[in-house]
């Protein structure tokens, strides 16, 4: 089995349907239901991108549309698309993805030299301010290289082979977001006999509830989602729009949605539009969009292996993927304890939970459960920096080189909402008590 980081069971993926895909020329295997990101993690691939300016190694940071790091190019001939978030790209048979903004390869990137020149490249540095050497001939020589450094991926060069269509729709209630709240709202509205449209950006309804172990009305999360979606789909007055993002709300409850009709298919069927623009006039709009986690800044929090706490939980629960072998969870609230428990359950060695709050504030049910599960909790502490496993100076690329050699990431680590997180086991030594803020922002 090639997916070394796939858990033997669990997850909301179709294990009977194995898919092969390619990333930077290497062949991997995943399952239907995976995203590109979860399939890469299942194969132990953490280094997937380079940052825009300093070409710092970047890994998979989130599990959804909020992904800032894992931007890849999908190679599909005339349909090639740059800057696709690996966390939202659905896996399909034969998918070919490549890294971008690196030369000659993702592992060995000359552009990373920019990091050593960073004192000379202030924020907002603009290449046309390059004034030396001052002759036009010299400019014509080096302009090529400077221009090549700009931009991330490559745009398609052939004409767009696809068609796009518009659709107008009217409904009494438009529900934006198909998670627990959205589905419950849609079911409540539909039960009164009104026309309902439910849209969700994901391929599957359920949102953050997918793969979770919570119960609703005494039913397991997955069973509840399935039953609710089945009820809604059976109702002729309800329209379910998966893979549809609402991107605008205008006067008079006019909402604009974009439906990605064929983007997830290996070869789109003929006479099918690629995307559909919906203009929906709704009697009422329910925004059940959920929330994104916010990371706490600390030095080197962009090292591959660093991940939002909720994202780590999603990879374990929804995709049955271990995002690493060892983890430290850094948080300032209770929700990350659920991640710590999920990671432990998945067989990941959780080095501890670093919590910025004082001991007295850790009385919630999740911290109690974490203690009962034997997790180490470090209250009143924050992570100030993440170090590479080789103890190289901060900011070096050593994490991924070590990972590649060993074939496994040395450590994963999870942030919490508004929480930071450590990246390596060593970062534990950098934990200080009492918390002391040090200005540390991720490099651009």
């Amino acid at each position: 089995m090639t997916q070394r980081f796939r858990l033997p069971q669990g997850g909301v993926i179709e294990r009977s349907q194995a898919l092969t895909f390619e990333f930077d020329g290497a062949h991997y295997e995943g399952y239907r239901g995976d995203t590109l990101a979860s399939a890469l993690l299942a194969n132990g691939v953490h280094l997937v991108a380079r940052s825009f300016k300093y070409h710092r190694p970047r890994g998979i940071f989130s599990a959804g549309v909020e992904e800032p790091n894992a931007l890849v190019q999908l190679a599909r001939g005339a349909r090639t698309e740059p800057n696709v978030r690996a966390t939202t790209a659905e896996l399909c048979e034969g998918l070919i993805a490549t890294s971008q903004n690196c030369w000659p390869s993702l592992e060995l990137d000359f552009g990373a030299l920019a990091g050593t020149l960073s004192p000379l490249l202030p924020a907002g540095f603009y290449y046309k301010t390059f004034l030396w050497p001052p002759t036009p001939r010299a400019w014509l020589r080096y302009e090529r290289f400077i221009r090549a450094a700009a931009g991330m991926g490559r745009a398609a060069t052939e004409p767009d082979p696809d068609r796009y269509e518009h659709e107008y729709a009217h409904c009494d209630v438009l529900v934006v977001g198909g998670g627990a709240a959205g589905l419950a709202a849609a079911r409540a509205a539909a039960s009164t006999g009104v026309r309902v449209i439910v849209c969700d950006e994901g391929a599957r309804f359920g949102g953050g509830l997918i793969g979770e172990s919570e119960t609703i009305d005494g039913t397991g999360a997955t069973a509840w989602i399935d039953a609710t979606v089945r009820d809604l789909a059976a109702n002729p007055d309800v329209t379910l729009l998966p893979r549809t993002t609402a991107f605008g709300s205008y006067d008079g409850n006019m909402l604009a949605l974009v439906e990605r009709v064929t983007d997830h298919l290996a070869s789109p069927p003929a006479h099918t539009p690629r995307q559909r623009l919906w203009k929906v006039r709704a009697g009422a709009a329910v925004l059940a969009t959920g929330a994104h986690e916010r990371a706490i800044a600390y030095a080197n929090n962009d090292l591959p292996g660093t991940m939002l706490a909720h994202a780590a939980r999603v990879y374990v629960r929804r995709y049955a993927v271990r995002p690493g072998t060892r983890a430290i969870v850094f948080t300032n609230n209770d929700s990350a304890y659920a991640t710590a428990l999920a990671l432990q359950e998945a067989g990941i060695a959780v080095g501890g939970v670093v919590d910025a709050r004082a001991e007295a504030e850790l009385a919630g049910s999740l911290p109690r459960r974490a203690r009962a599960a034997g997790l180490t909790i470090l209250p009143n502490s924050v992570i100030v920096t993440a170090l590479s496993p080789e103890d190289a100076p901060a900011g070096s690329n050593a994490t991924w080189s070590a990972s590649r050699e060993a074939g496994i990431p040395r450590c994963t680590c999870a942030h919490s909402p508004a929480g930071v997180c450590g990246t390596t086991m060593r970062s534990r030594r950098s934990c200080r008590s009492p918390p002391r803020r040090r200005s540390s922002a991720p490099a651009p």
Partner: protein, 90 residues
């Protein structure tokens, strides 16, 4: 997009309508002062709040209508046939 209620067709999208300008201005007599004419041709109030406007349902029944719209909230307060408004006597 605004939802404008046409007195003949019911609520319709703004894209079916054409804006016809301020409904409160009244054409002066032909022999009026140049200053009066200049005001009629060029000068308009720009109220922050309810505004009387003329719209034509150009992609529908093609009737003109008088719409009261709040310029701050874009709320369509009221709409009526052009001559049915109480302010028509101005």
């Amino acid at each position: 997009m605004l939802l404008i209620s046409c007195p003949w067709c019911g609520p319709r999208a703004q894209s079916e309508f054409t804006y016809g300008g301020d409904a409160t201005v009244k054409r002066p007599p032909l022999d009026a002062d140049e200053a009066v004419w200049a005001e009629f041709v060029y000068l308009r109030d720009n109220p922050a709040g309810p505004h009387e406007e003329l719209w034509q349902h150009s992609a529908g029944c093609r009737q003109w209508l008088r719409v009261r719209r709040d310029t701050r909230t874009h709320e369509i307060v009221d709409s009526a046939p052009p001559r049915a408004s109480p302010r028509d006597d101005r």
